[in-house]
């Protein structure tokens, strides 16, 4: 039937961090007007609003808000947190990205079960994801700031270099690595532009204007973890563990390339 059906989404598919950044599309290719019209009134703003409510609401078995959640810039502070993640957190002894850290707070402070949050991490057309809303809110609180991910702690440098190794690591029935699709300029899978992730300029655009980003084809905000999950799916690997060290290491590698990019979240993608 005509009206885009949910089941069609996997078929339309999504290779690694496809979906070129909206703001980069200034050339008049027939697509630009539509992208601008969507970006000007981004439905992702609805996720930001919901995320803000969820952040301050007393929730979970422990009836706590996230106002004591330390995202790396002090308890309850969302301002500027995204621009400095992933980073090392002494309390967990781990390098964590935004989602991994929110997961920690929702479990430790609010008493949610980890497996429940993981299960509902990606929203569907019938069920919103709290995580997607929270990430939209926290991400938006770095808007206007420059990405400035630290590599001060040795663990952060371990993750960065492991992320680099993993970016180039080929495996699976299609012999893919991230690098297969993301190390050259001007490449496309079908009509979908593929950013060159070894180019800091392109990475600044990819990271600082999404993810999180509202995806028109999925009618939802999607996060970096979802982006990596879908890449990994397209590479024919098993379900990528949510907030796994591998996913955080890749994010460390990519986000550090994006340092200096001005954050404007959530973004909009196809």
């Amino acid at each position: 039937m005509m009206l885009i059906v949910r089941s069609a989404v996997p078929a339309l598919a999504l290779l690694c961090l496809t979906a070129a950044p909206i703001a980069a599309q200034n050339k008049d290719d027939g697509l630009a007007i539509g992208r601008k019209m969507l970006a000007d009134d981004n439905p992702g703003e609805l996720w930001v609003e919901r995320g803000k409510r969820l952040f301050f609401e007393k929730r979970g078995p422990k009836k706590a808000s996230l106002e004591q959640c330390d995202l790396g810039v002090g308890p309850g502070r969302a301002e500027g947190a995204f621009a400095r993640l992933p980073r090392y957190f002494p309390d967990t002894g781990k390098v964590q990205d935004l989602e991994s850290r929110l997961l920690t707070c929702m479990v430790e402070l609010q008493g949610f079960k980890r497996e429940d949050i993981v299960k509902s991490r990606f929203g569907t057309l019938d069920r919103d994801s709290d995580m997607e809303a929270l990430v939209s809110y926290v991400g938006s609180k770095s808007n206007g700031m420059k990405m400035n991910m630290p590599l001060a702690d040795p663990k952060e440098r371990d993750f960065y270099k492991a992320g680099e190794y993993l970016f180039f690591r080929r495996s699976g029935p299609l012999d893919f690595s991230c690098a297969t699709c993301h190390t050259e300029d001007g490449k496309r899978v079908r009509l979908q532009e593929l950013p060159n992730m070894t180019d800091p300029k392109q990475m600044q655009m990819v990271v600082s204007t999404g993810w999180p980003a509202y995806r028109g084809t999925q009618a939802s905000v999607r996060t970096m973890q979802h982006r990596l999950y879908d890449c990994n799916w397209q590479m024919r690997q098993a379900d990528l563990g949510y907030a796994s060290d591998l996913s955080v290491a890749l994010t460390s590698y990519l986000n550090h390339h994006a340092n200096g990019g001005v954050v404007q979240l959530p973004g909009v993608r196809r």
Binding site: M1, M2, L3, V5, R6, S7, D40, D41, P43, E45, L46, E49, R50, L125, D126, A219
Partner: protein, 106 residues
Amino acid sequence: MSEPMRIRATLQGDVADVRILMRHPMETGQRKDSKGEIIPVHFIQSVIVSHNGKQVLDAQWSQAVSRDPFLGLRVKGAKAGDKISVTWTDNKGDKRTDEATVAAAS
């Protein structure tokens, strides 16, 4: 329970530029759920926009309007501080009203 709309109203001269995002599934009645059952048609049929209590736009929609709908309009003769009120009603009879204040041009 429905989610609040996001209404932005900004003055450009004496015209208020009004941009409204609504949270609604806008189900077409064509989509199937994970069990293969058709999800009933469920969409916003009517949107009324008022400026200081006077109706300026009466929209009638079909299920072809996108999920999480957007509506942009312009209202002449507006001033900063004026009230913009938006009410949607869907085919199940659910409705929601939200308000915003016209902001001076930034």
